[in-house]
Each structure stands twice: as structure tokens, then as C-alpha cells.
Symmetry: D2
Subunit: 353 residues, 4 copies
Amino acid sequence: MKRRVAVLGATGIVGQRFVSLLGDHPWFELAIVAASEKSIGRKYCEAVRWVIEKPIPSSIADLELSPISNDIAKEEIDIVFTALPAEVAKDIEIELAKKGIIVISNASPMRLEPDIPLLNPEVNADHVEVIEYQRRVRRWSGAIVKVPNCTTAILTLSLKPIMDEFGIKRVIVSTMQALSGAGLTGVPSMLILDNLIPFIEGEEEKVESESRKILGYPTSDGITLNSNFVVSASCHRVMVLEGHTESVFVETVRDVDVEDLIKSMEEFKSNKIRGLGLPTAPEKPIVVRREIDRPQPRFDRMEGRGMSVVIGRIRKDYALNGVKYIVLGHNTLRGAAGTGVLIAELMVKKGLA
Amino acid sequence: MKRRVAVLGATGIVGQRFVSLLGDHPWFELAIVAASEKSIGRKYCEAVRWVIEKPIPSSIADLELSPISNDIAKEEIDIVFTALPAEVAKDIEIELAKKGIIVISNASPMRLEPDIPLLNPEVNADHVEVIEYQRRVRRWSGAIVKVPNCTTAILTLSLKPIMDEFGIKRVIVSTMQALSGAGLTGVPSMLILDNLIPFIEGEEEKVESESRKILGYPTSDGITLNSNFVVSASCHRVMVLEGHTESVFVETVRDVDVEDLIKSMEEFKSNKIRGLGLPTAPEKPIVVRREIDRPQPRFDRMEGRGMSVVIGRIRKDYALNGVKYIVLGHNTLRGAAGTGVLIAELMVKKGLA
Amino acid sequence: MKRRVAVLGATGIVGQRFVSLLGDHPWFELAIVAASEKSIGRKYCEAVRWVIEKPIPSSIADLELSPISNDIAKEEIDIVFTALPAEVAKDIEIELAKKGIIVISNASPMRLEPDIPLLNPEVNADHVEVIEYQRRVRRWSGAIVKVPNCTTAILTLSLKPIMDEFGIKRVIVSTMQALSGAGLTGVPSMLILDNLIPFIEGEEEKVESESRKILGYPTSDGITLNSNFVVSASCHRVMVLEGHTESVFVETVRDVDVEDLIKSMEEFKSNKIRGLGLPTAPEKPIVVRREIDRPQPRFDRMEGRGMSVVIGRIRKDYALNGVKYIVLGHNTLRGAAGTGVLIAELMVKKGLA
Amino acid sequence: MKRRVAVLGATGIVGQRFVSLLGDHPWFELAIVAASEKSIGRKYCEAVRWVIEKPIPSSIADLELSPISNDIAKEEIDIVFTALPAEVAKDIEIELAKKGIIVISNASPMRLEPDIPLLNPEVNADHVEVIEYQRRVRRWSGAIVKVPNCTTAILTLSLKPIMDEFGIKRVIVSTMQALSGAGLTGVPSMLILDNLIPFIEGEEEKVESESRKILGYPTSDGITLNSNFVVSASCHRVMVLEGHTESVFVETVRDVDVEDLIKSMEEFKSNKIRGLGLPTAPEKPIVVRREIDRPQPRFDRMEGRGMSVVIGRIRKDYALNGVKYIVLGHNTLRGAAGTGVLIAELMVKKGLA
């Protein structure tokens, strides 16, 4: 029987991606879509400014929009996906978790709290076990699990095989991020055409801290310990619709052989979720392109239905004694809603939802 | 009396910038404009696809285009500016130098040869003295002086006060470069709209090697010694008309105090050319912006008539133990023709042209 | 002695253009800049998101922003330029006119009222005489004069010589309008990149009605009579920063000879304002380009400092028995603030302000 | 059994679309892909710069590229699709037709010759009968059939129900055409960013003449007679990847009732091909959108897998006594390769190929 799910914040860009993925999902039935006040009571298809390449799932088009609130009963809904603004997310999510609902949240608050799993399943599916500790200390019958920041989700997937094979000391990352990351109306065309904006509020801090948590280790205490490398990020907005491109420089513990690294990346299947049969998991989480000028967002962002990251230009770095490369990922799929749905699938399979 | 000058490769983007700067120059008279075969004999204004914001200087519009060749007499022309493709530049430039002509070249060949000055005047005007050695060993009565690669010209100007104040160990730079850098037809719109291209042929190698030469030291031998820090670059093309933006991470020898660094940058006047009264020298070679989201190419590239670099977001870097920041410069002015003209002015003032 | 002037709505795109033109104007002193609530009391340079190619005039940068209101005394200010949203403009403008102030308004309300001059000076400077009737019936000591809709200002300037030489029966116009016409944040980049929007609210109605008023005739009653041709418009937004391009098809009364028409356009000096020495009037209100692919917004919008329209591709139209062509104009200069300032100059010269 | 087919000019944008459509076609087997000299002998996937949203069909990726020539045997290939430059197309196409091959050509030469069918199947599938006359007079055992110009294919599909219901006297069309229409490298980004180009070589003439042939009548002579309305076009390039948008003004014979017209368009199934079961035929050749701001290229171009045209903003036109509207179509699918494949399907079904 399908789990009944809800999406809070269903009309924004990430919300649209959730709706698109959940509208025909084999394991989930999207029963509630909620949006801000002005849309309540309207049909989803009439209230939304749909910008996704596929049409609105027909099962959702005529659904009436509900208010964003914690007024959702455990009997009615098993899992709530949230794509809410940071300032309203936290209280609602906590109330839902108290009621016994599983909350999978794309909002940034609480991502760094030690008892809140921050999951990028192919990288750290095992961190989901932190829920046990969370329930114990918070006395929740439900749970809150967080989806990482978009840039971080893409980055950490690329770093995982490097860490495993060669060890990481330092990471320098400079990004070229898509417009969709700022939401439907976030970047006015008058300010970005023939231009770029070398600043994204709060982004660098998120990348620097979340990366270490995701690549950290679960401990016997039930919480996770950060990995001990350091990350420095510089984040920039460019005129691309979807797909974050990241220029990454890594200082490694051991000398990198580029062909070995490519092999590790191409063979990276993630023993964390392999064999679980999660419908949203891409066959290859990492795709390596050997052309000199790839990955490129317009041509590569939909690799693995938007769930793979694409890596190219892998080369030795002589300044840092390590490796440098380009990684690209779809910021609202791999970097947001897609990873959210993948987490939900993982939890179902693990008997946690 | 004005020096008579020529521009070889006058119809390309860098050529147009040379024409625009030299058409009304107080010290120079642009007497010859040369272009590729199909344009020879046509009026400049009819053969060129002019893309510069100011009109073609009226003194040049009706000039007839000459062939690109070394068939220019010392009696006729004092200085030749070249904006030629790398594959044809070298031979022509050498022939002209033999004849006694001063060649100021934007082409990449020979930039790294130890007897060829590679000049970014505010940074290393003193390297012009290498000409003496060049003339001795090459037995030329003229000379060849090279304009740095565009990205490198912008980068090294930003690095100079850091090197002077705090010392540099390592530099990591990730760029977002303008379309004009690839020439008028270099980047087809079908391949860059809603996209970016994370590769620019030969660019990273140029940045990594030229930076060290420009920031190096003249020796008593008459040549220059490279500075001993290392540079690692990753270069990318984005959909911006003019203006290269660079995200720079610097490991310094001494601890950086951000306010001290800003002060050094704002006060940077370059004792190398200060007081020489060079017409193309910007009043402030470095402009620091304190807004959180600057510099931006569309709004800042024309700072100092395109000859200043604009630096923003200067902040400590904890991964590299140093500093990170954004620097922007106009790639065809500060990064090409503007610096070429500034070099010519320097040489006139020094009695070398 | 300079007239003291104010700009209401000084931080928007049209407001910025007014500030840029009035900051160094030989006849006017910009004494008051007013903006919406959140900016009141802040320095202009800090409150504005400046997007104009020239810097903020130094005389204005530190001016403190006032509230938008009718609380401006005749003793203090001679002329008020308004760049206000339609919904707030009307009441304020009427109150100011009652007080004896000359209001030059870029807002759409009242443009079609018979006693309100709608001025595109080179086309219908004589309509300014309608003020006499306006004052009589409204009992105002000041006056309200309207700047036309941007698309209409550009269109009517191109139509004027055709009407004079050949007579006009019908006009069909299809536009490609710049982003700036929708204001700083009007068009989100997510909705326009790799796209166009074939609708602009209220625009077609404005073009269809205002054109006939501007090209109409003053009568002995003191009001103006619409010209009797019909206009049909279709208006579309494209990804261009500044400059509206219009594809115009005109059915003429008499057969058009294309060369005669070009001559009329090139010689069009406007006997309406010729010889008045208005500083903002372009030397040539109409510039004809003979290249097959001009005018183009990026290259031609600043013609005549943004006050000329540029016409190209003038050719016979065999479907309508007339002529078709492309006209381009700068929508926030010729189509808004520039024409506003030109109107003010006209009124000063005519002794009306 | 599948027909064996070839694509000449397989690496350009239209060629890529042909390959994408034919790679998995139920009725056709793509056996030969031919390209210009520098690609001959290379694998298709290595020689092509693939820009289509779907991957290269796996059956084609490793196919070796052949030379473009008429050296194709009837025994080997039944149908040749050509996407060749106009200057080389004609001779090759004639030679192939002589040999008994069916040539479906996207090249412009011969489109207006009276014995060459110019087919937009839903509009004029019956014109295919002209082949009989063609074979008689040319003594060919094969045949040449032409795909219309892209803009014209889209326009005529929108005009067909208007002509049938209300009659057409005059058509004025002003276009905003996509970059792909100029080929992969046709429009340099430096010349179109923040710009548009109000001219497309030869395009207006094609629209004006081809439209009348397509909407004309087959006669008892075996050839077709042009419809007798007149068309005037103005064609412009804008920064959109795919999808031509056309602003159309139509003078009708009878008064248009807008709701009746919308009904005719929505019900337009084309009795010309209805019931033939052609795989590439869209279910609805015309889709009407009632939102005030549609169609838009990014969101609507893939309607009906790129084979439907999308019409919006249908409104009375009072200048022309008729109707005005916006029509959008995918220029390389409905406007080129898609219509080419649809023609081939029609011919198979009619027993002509």
C-alpha cells in the first residue's frame, strides 16, 4: 500500500519538483499540497506558475491547495516533504514530528544539529540511524530528516570517492550557480543579463559546514562526528536556468592517480544504498565525462533523470598537491527535491517510515 | 610630435579596442590599420563589425585597411600594436623588431621567454629594462614587449599589494570569463545560452605561468626571475559580454588583516609608474567595493575607463590560511588593448620608444 | 537662474534616468528626490539600486530621499517630474498642479483626457498650448503635461514624416520590448531566459489610442482632435536590457517612394522645436541606417544620447499598399525620462514653466 | 518491413532532429548518415556536436558518416531526407530522384516550382498528388517533395482554419525567431546577447511566397494554384534557443467571431490526414491557450512532441477588420525535421514511398 504524503510549499520551484516526482511515484501517494495564503483553496494547476519541462501530473492538477500548517494528522499522512522558507519551517516541522509524522525537509534550520540526520543517501545513508537518538532525546514519535543545501549535495557526492580512496585535507570550491536556486522570482532579469552576481546569501557557510557533517562518521553515541578536513567556498550566481557547476580543488592525503580516481568515480555505486532498489536512485550516481569541455549545465544536468552528478576535467593540482575538477548537478533535483524523495524511499526500505 | 603607430589585426575585438584608444590619443597617431586578406583595401568602417560602445574614431573610419605583414618601415611607423592570432604573430613581430620598430604584442607566443618583458605596468613597469638584454642577445634595434594574458593581467594587479604586504605562498583562482575573450565569433549563441563552458583552451597554463613571471624580480643579469609561489587556475566561460570575474584564494606568508589589506589596495598607486603622467593609467588601479555583492561585470567593468580592477568580498580564508576575494577587470581593456597602450606610453616616457 | 525641480519615484528605472539627466542639467537644479516609504530619509546613493551606465551625479548622491506626496510648495519647486505607479500618480499630480506647480508626468492616467497635453516634442510641441484650456477649465495655476507611453513615443516619431509626406490610413505594429520597461524587478530571469513573453499589460491599448492623440490636431477650442487613421498593436517582451524595437507596417494615402521617405526622415528636424536650443533635443530626431540588419538595440539605442530613434529596413509593403520598416528607440530615455526633460525645456522656452 | 532511409547533412541542427526522430522510428530504419568532408568516416557520436535534449539514438551513435553525394542506390535506400545547404542541395536531390529515390528535402531551392509538392501535411496533404505530374514531366522514377520554410510551416497551420471558416484577404506577420534556425554556429553570442537582429536573409520572401502555395489549390492539371490573399512578413532573430513566435494580423473575408475561431482551431484535426495513423502526427495540430501571456517558447515549444503549434491571444483586429493572434511552433521539429518525417509517413501510407 502506498504511503500518503504531503508537500508543504508546493508552488515554488522546489515544491514543483516534489510534485513532479511524487505525482506518479510507485510508493507514494501525494494527498496534500499546501501553499501560502493567497493560493489556498485554488486548484494546484491554476495557482502554480509551472516551470518544469514535464507537465503537471494529472493526478495533482486539480488538487485543491491547503494552508501551510502543522494541522496534519498522523492518521492521514505518513510523510511530509517541506520546501518552506527558512523562517517558517522550523516550528511547523517540529510540531509535525511530535505528532508522529516523518518530516523530510529542504529548509536550512537545524541542519547542523547533531541529532538531525543530514542525508545525501549515496554518501551517508547510514546517518539515518541518528533518528533513534533524535527520538530518544526529543521524545518525538515522528522524526525530522534534512536534505542538504543544493551545492553541498552535489559537492559531497563528488568528494566521497576521493575521500575513500585518497583522503582529503582541504577543499576549495568556487561555484557557478543556477537561477532556479533563488526561486521563481529571486533574480530579476535586469540585474543578471550580461552579468553575474558573486554572492549568494548564506551559501558559503552552508557548504563549508554541511559538507563536513555529511562526510562525517556516525558514532556509538548515536550522533555523527564531522570529518576533519576544511572547506572554503566562494559562491556565485550565473545566467543558467538549472544546474550548479562547481570548480573544485582538493588537497588529498595520498597522491592522486587521475586514472585511478576516474575508475573509482565511475564504479562508485554507493554501498550505502546499493541493492535497496530505491526508485529515485540513479544507476550511476557519478558520471565522468572525458571530453575536454564538459560537464555543461544545459547538456548534462538531466543525467540520471537529474539525480547523477557529472564530473569532468579531472586533473592533478600542483598548488594543493591533489586534484582539481568540475562537478555539475541539477540543483533542484539532486540538490533538493530528488534527494528528498530518495531519502523518503530509503526510510521506507529501512522500516523507518 | 606624436609617435606614428600601426595596429595589426585591427578588426577583431582587441583590434577595435586598440583603434578606439589610439584614434584620439594625445601622444600617438594611428596611421596604419591592418587586417586579414578579405578586408584589405576596404575602408575600416566598412570592413569592421564594430561592437564597441563608443563610435569609431572619425580619424580612422575612412582609413583603408592594409595587409598584415612585416612590410612596415621604421621611417614610417614607430610602434606597432599587434592583436594577431598566435600562429601568425611570432614571425611578423620578430621581423618588425629587427627593423627597429617597437612591437607591443597581445599575442601569446614568446611571453615566457626570459628576455621578453611581459608587462602589467602598475605591477612590474621596471621589467621593461629587460629590453636592454633583449637587444643585446637578439641584436634587434627595435624590441618586442608582451601584454599579458587577460585573466593574468587582472589577477596580478590584485595580487601585487597582497604580495607586498603579506607575502604569497599559493594562489587558487577560478574564473568566470566574458565572451569577448573568444573573439567576435568565438562562442556560438546556441552553445552558451542557458549554459556555461568550463574550459578555455590554453588559459589555465597561461595564468599559472605568466603570473609568476609578472610578479617576479629583475636580476642583475638583465632578465627576470619568477616569483616562487604556485598558482592553480580553473577557467570557465559564462554569458557575459565583457569583464572577467575571478574568484581568488590566496595562502599568505603572514597573517592577513582584512582591513589592512583593503587599505593597501585602496592606496595602491603603483610606485612603478606613479608620477609619470601616463594618459591611459587609471587614477586608482584597484578599486575596492564594500557592498556584499560586488564587483559585477555589467556595472563595474568600466571603472577607471576599463583600466581599474574592482575587488570585493575580501574575507579571511581559513582553509588556506590567507584571504579570498573576487576581482573583476575589463578583459579587452585592462586585459588587452588598454594595457598595450599603457605599455607604449611607459616606453615613450622612459625614452624607449 | 535655474528652475528648481523634483523627481517623484526617483529610485525606479525611469526615476534613475530623470536623476541622471537632471543631475547636471544646465537649466534645472534637482532639489528633491522622493521615493517610497522604505527609502525615506536615506541617502539617494544608498537607497537606490543604480543600473545606469553613467555614475550617479555627484550633486545627487548624498541627497536625502523625501516621501512621495503632494506636500511640495510652489515657492520651493517649479517643476515636478513624476515616475510614479499609475495607481498613486493621479491624485498627487492634481494636487501639485492646483498649487501652481508644473507637473511633467510619466504615469499613464489622464493621458487621453482632451485638456491634458500628451507631448512628444518633435512631433507635437504645439499641443502644449492645450494648457491654456486646461487651466481655464480646471482652474489650476500649475499644469499637468504627460509623457507618452514608451512604445508610442518611439512609434509616433517614426510616423510623423510618413504622415506629413504620404498620409496614413492604417498602422500595424508588432513590438519587441526591453526588460527595463517592466521596472527593476518586473521580469524574473527564470521566466524570460531562453524565452519571450508575448504580452504586456495595457500596452497595446496605450499604443493604439495615444498614437492618434499625439499625431492629432490642435483645434480652435483649445483641445486636440485625434488623427483619423487606425492603429493595431501587438506587444511582446524580449531579453534585451534597454531599447524597444518595433516592426511597423503602414498603409499610406499616397504611394510611397522609399528613397523620398528616407530623405524626409533624414531631413526631419521638426519645425516644432527647431531653433529653440533645447539642450536635450537630439540633433537628428530620426537616424536612418541603411545596413540590412540595423537597427539593433545594443548598438543603436544610445544614438543621439538615447533621444534619437533609429530606423532601418525601410521597404515597400505590398500587402498594405504602403511601407514597412523597423524603428528602435531607447525606452527609458526617448520613451520616458528623456522626453520628460525635453518637454520641461520646451515649456521653459515657451514661458510656460 | 521497415523502409531504409538516409539523412544527408546529419550533423547540423536539422540533421540532428532527423536522426533523433528516425533513430527509433517504427516504419523507418536509418541506414545512412552523411555529413561534410571533415566528418566522413568518423562515428556519428564523435563527429556531431549534439545539442538535442534527448540522447543520440543508440542505433545511430556508432554509425560511420558517409559523404554527401548522390551516390546512393535505389536498392539500398528508399527515402532520403536532406538537410543540406541551399547551394548544394538541388543537384544532388535531382540525381537521387532520377534514380528512383524519394527525396524529402528541407532545402529551399525548387520549393516554388509548380510540379514540386510543398507539404505541410495537416494543411495540404492532398498536394502530394502533384508528384504524378512531376514524374510525368521530369521523367523521374523517384520524386522530390519539399518541407516548407520553418516560419511558413508554423504560420500556415495557424491560417488554415481561419481560411476555411472566414476566408483570408491579407496577412501581416512579424516574427521572433529562434537561434537554432541559423544553425549551430550561425549567430555568435557576442552579437545577440542583450540584443536582437531584425533581419533574416531570404526569410520574408519565403514566408510571403510559400504560404500562398501551401494554402493553394490542386488543379485538374496536376499542379497547384496559389491562394489569392497577400502576405507581408518582417522577420527577426531573438535570443531563444528553439521555437519561432509569430505575431499575426489577418484581414478576413467574413467577420470573425473569436469564440467560433477558437472552436475551429481546437477542433482542427485535419481531414487531410486524419485516420491515417501517421506516427509523427500530433493528436492536436493546433493547441489554443487561453492564458493572457501564452504561448511562450520555453514552455510551449514541445507541445505535441514539438509537432503542434500553440496559439494564444486571439483577438479581433480593428485596423484590418479581422483577427490578430500569436502562434508558436518548434522550428526544427514542426518547422523542419518533424514535418519532413510526417511527409514520409504520409507517402508510405499513400503508397508513394
